[in-house]
């Protein structure tokens, strides 16, 4: 057995020479930024350029666009899960945990990234159980936050998980560059204030359902 072999932890990340592993990471980060800014069809060459590596390196590590989307989606879901878990673990109550989670998801634009690559991820999810598994973990945790926050009377009672999910994916695009951090933060705070229990009028029906990955759609 070669010295390098291992349990092969997260597929692709282990068993690489140090420089290769570093570049792989740079590529994923660049991909996340560009997917977010330009959509999932952004030229791979541009991703390579932003990562500061050659196009050859990108192709060596990710044989096709789907592999890259898969990796970027996995990294994103892992950050989201980590965000939800630390919030739940460290905040004093469910409302604060939910608030921290939403702030993080919106400021890191994790939800927005999700909304951009999710269509492509759907195909991957059916094939890749680990993606489904992480996604499920996040859903369970957020649902738990909501349930407890309701019980505590901190979250307005008519808010449903689907509402939170939709808010997470809200995308702020501004002419040209990325929107100003601080300006977005203000809007997030306004939304959070709208979520607090109070004497608001009841929300209309029709919350978005959230749940498992849908079964295969019929081919067009």
């Amino acid at each position: 057995m070669s010295k390098r072999s291992s349990v092969a932890g997260r597929a692709g990340d282990a068993e690489l020479r140090a420089d290769a592993r570093r570049n792989r990471q740079l590529i994923i980060e660049a991909a996340q930024q560009l997917f977010l800014r330009d959509g999932a069809d952004v030229p791979l060459e541009e991703i390579a350029r932003r990562a500061g590596v050659g196009i050859g390196t990108l192709y060596r590590r990710f044989p096709d666009r789907n592999a890259l989307i898969h990796a970027a989606g996995l990294a994103m879901l892992e950050r989201l899960a980590e965000l939800a878990e630390s919030a739940w673990r460290e905040e004093p109550d469910a409302w604060h945990a939910l608030r921290r989670f939403l702030r993080g998801a919106l400021e890191l634009r994790l939800g927005a990234l999700q909304s951009v690559i999710e269509p492509r991820l759907h195909a991957a999810m059916r094939a890749a159980p680990e993606l489904r598994e992480i996604r499920q973990r996040i859903i369970v945790l957020v649902e738990r936050m909501i349930r407890h926050a309701h019980q505590d009377g901190a979250l307005r009672p008519d808010v449903e998980p689907g509402d939170i999910a939709l808010m997470m994916t809200m995308h702020v695009q501004l002419p040209g560059a990325a929107p100003d951090e601080r300006a977005v933060r203000r809007v997030v705070e306004i939304m959070l204030d709208g979520l607090r229990a109070g004497d608001q009028p009841e929300l209309p029906d029709g919350a978005m359902p959230i749940g498992a990955v849908q079964p295969d759609p019929v081919e067009p």
Copy 2:
């Protein structure tokens, strides 16, 4: 003077045969939908297809992509202005006007469309005074709504015009198709509740500035 000539109302719309005018309108509507869904780089052929006209027809009416973006942007700004004006005219007070305006902008996705094509519109705006003029009219009206709503004590005092502008451009993308109307509506209502005057904590600094079209950036 030919019988067809006229004051040439909105450029390009008048002096066309009925079928041509109808097709022109269909093209603009298709362009708005696709710009919103796929970004401002969507192939013109796809726009023609969705409009149900040939590619030749599209090119005859809009010599290049910019002309189409210009027309779509103009139509969008006109609807926004109309929305702001009717809200101001027909609602009993500034808060209700602002609420109606925001609901409309978010549900019609006018702000989102704006955010998609605004980068391209910027160039057009410098050249096209009528775009600047409409845009300015909207800004003035919304600022007036905010000012009055503040005076009435209905809008939380730390909300600034830039916050409203940013909320307008919020984009809800969902995997695949357009997001469900009713689900989005709920989130809009939550945001509106966050805007109402109450005992919320103060917003952090850093509201987005809004204003005139910026001067020409230096060429890269």
